[in-house]
């Protein structure tokens, strides 16, 4: 377990105590399946001087308790994260965190100042749908997590620091929490039109050029659906863009938050 960023994020479900006051809102960072708050280390480092940051572990991940249900659905995760939106926030969600974030942005219109979706899915094609459901089924059957296939999908270079960090998080994940979240991730097809049209806040949809399951076309389609949306594609980036392309991503986040939340 890498604990370096936890000291910055002050553990699950906590805000940094000495909050800077540049923006009049906090950042709510929602990670994806199998990961934990530490996933956001580079974004926390890059943005902590400008915004207060809330980086929780998703239920059943990191140090957070699992949801009190055998088969939770997306709404359960959304409801669980809703408690962080007791103040103005900009939501930044990655992958499943972006699914949750989109729903929150559509529900909590009063408090959500901006929404950034990273490496998110939207209307997978049949093949991708079948593949992700098969992966969810496989996880439900197994007692322990084999991070091999996931890392294979995420990284060209399994020896990179980002790959090693992810490997550590995946190995230490709770198999039940992981499988429950993956099932929800696989069954959801990303925000539907009603959700996207319900978001009032400015939105930015970013994905990596080399993320086969969260394509630039998906990001463009979502950006076209929301009231105020734009999309960005980060060259050469794959699914774990927040770790592998932190500088490019942090620049995009900083400029968007500055320009679109006046």
């Amino acid at each position: 377990m890498t604990d370096s960023s936890r000291s910055v994020a002050e553990g699950p479900h906590k805000t940094r105590k000495e909050s800077p006051r540049i923006g009049d809102f906090s950042l709510l960072l929602l990670h994806g399946v199998g990961l934990r708050a530490e996933f956001w280390g580079a974004q926390i480092d890059g943005l902590k001087d400008r915004y207060p940051i809330i980086a929780p572990d998703l239920p059943g991940h990191g140090d957070a308790a699992p949801l009190d249900k055998t088969c939770p659905d997306l709404d359960d995760y959304v409801e669980s994260c809703r408690r962080y939106i007791d103040r103005p926030v900009a939501i930044i969600g990655h992958s499943m965190g972006a699914m949750i974030g989109a729903e929150l942005a559509a529900i909590c219109t009063e408090h959500v100042r901006a929404f950034v979706s990273l490496n998110a899915v939207h209307r997978r094609d049949c093949q991708a749908k079948a593949a992700v459901l098969a992966r969810a089924e496989g996880l439900a059957q197994s007692e322990r997590i084999d991070p091999g296939p996931t890392l294979q999908r995420w990284f060209d270079d399994r020896k990179s620091a980002a790959a090693k960090a992810c490997e550590g998080w995946l190995r230490n994940a709770d198999p039940k929490g992981y499988a429950a979240a993956y099932r929800v991730f696989a069954q959801s097809d990303g925000p539907d039109d009603k959700t996207l049209e319900g978001i009032n806040a400015p939105c930015l949809f970013i994905t990596g050029e080399c993320d086969p399951n969260s394509t630039p076309q998906m990001s463009q389609a979502m950006a076209a659906r929301v009231r105020q949306g734009s999309s960005l594609t980060i060259e050469g980036a794959g699914h774990i863009m927040p770790l592998t392309h932190a500088d490019e991503l942090n620049a995009a986040l900083a400029c968007f938050l500055r320009d679109y939340t006046q």
């Binding site: 050029e209 630039p216 463009q220 734009s230 999309s231 960005l232 594609t233 980060i234 060259e235 500088d247 490019e248 942090n250 620049a251 995009a252 900083a254 400029c255 968007f256």
Partner: protein, 344 residues
Amino acid sequence: MKFSLFVHLESGEEAGSHTELRQEFIGLCRLAEEGGMHAIWTGEHHGMEFTISPNPFLTIVDLAHHTRSIRLGTGTIVAPFWHPIRLAGEAAAADLITGGRLDLGIARGAYNFEYERLMPGMEAFEAGARMREMAPLLRRLWQGDCAHEGEFFRFPETTVMPRPVQKDGPPIWIAARDPDSHLFALKNGFNVQVTPLWQGIEEITVLMQRFESALAATEVARPKIMLLHHVYVGANEEDLERAAKELSRFYCYFGAWFANQRPVRQGRIAPLSQEEIEGNQRMSPAAMRRDLTMGMPREVIDRIKRFEDMGFDEFSFWIDNGMSAERKRACLQRFIDQVMPAFG
């Protein structure tokens, strides 16, 4: 990487006569050509001594007679102040007079000070809409027999005269910032100019991301993209420190013109006090030193190499900075002698 000079007549702290300013301006442009730069860009501004250039085509025609082959670009035409037939015609005439050296940069404009004088009541949104309606008409007007019924313009079949010298007319460049304007430029086969103004690598990264994303979305052939940024190549550290202060002052005035809240008399904005300048944290000398393309030659080379790696085709040296003519000239000379040779 191609290099160009982005330059206007501008009043300094103690401005000389405009006759002198013009001579100094021509001198800088000639130095740019002799130094091997690819182009000179000059823009359109009204009623301000801060940037003096009521019609860039006049300036370009003037420069055509004082230079030999360097390309001459408008950086930029303010779209909402023009009618497409007039713009296409004057651009074609400038292309003819310069012997096909014209590049045509177009933007929606930025200063409310100008909007409220030339187009009272117009919102920035309409300025953008006018640009989007006008720019795609230019090539059609050069091709001839172009009729148009639009939101802002309508005219029966028209062929502008003279014919431009360059095949298909002068290349068109759009000053882009938001993702939509990048998309607009790419969909229409225009080149792109971006400027982060006083901001640095973070903003530049994002401007390039928007260009790349628009490229991925449109799947058109990649046009050219130019980065416009203030440059200062220091003679030594003290010189750099002084330049950072001068650029900080320049951007404080830029901000004051942009905010459009101070009185303007005889084309000059009410002077900023020392406290106002020093109190502007965003434009502090340290911020200038950090974010602009400033440094000793090695540092400037490294910074521009990074822009080259990011995919910029042209780097435009913005030299309007409120400094004396001597300091501008010396800095441009250092850039030519010590920075440009590092780029093949």
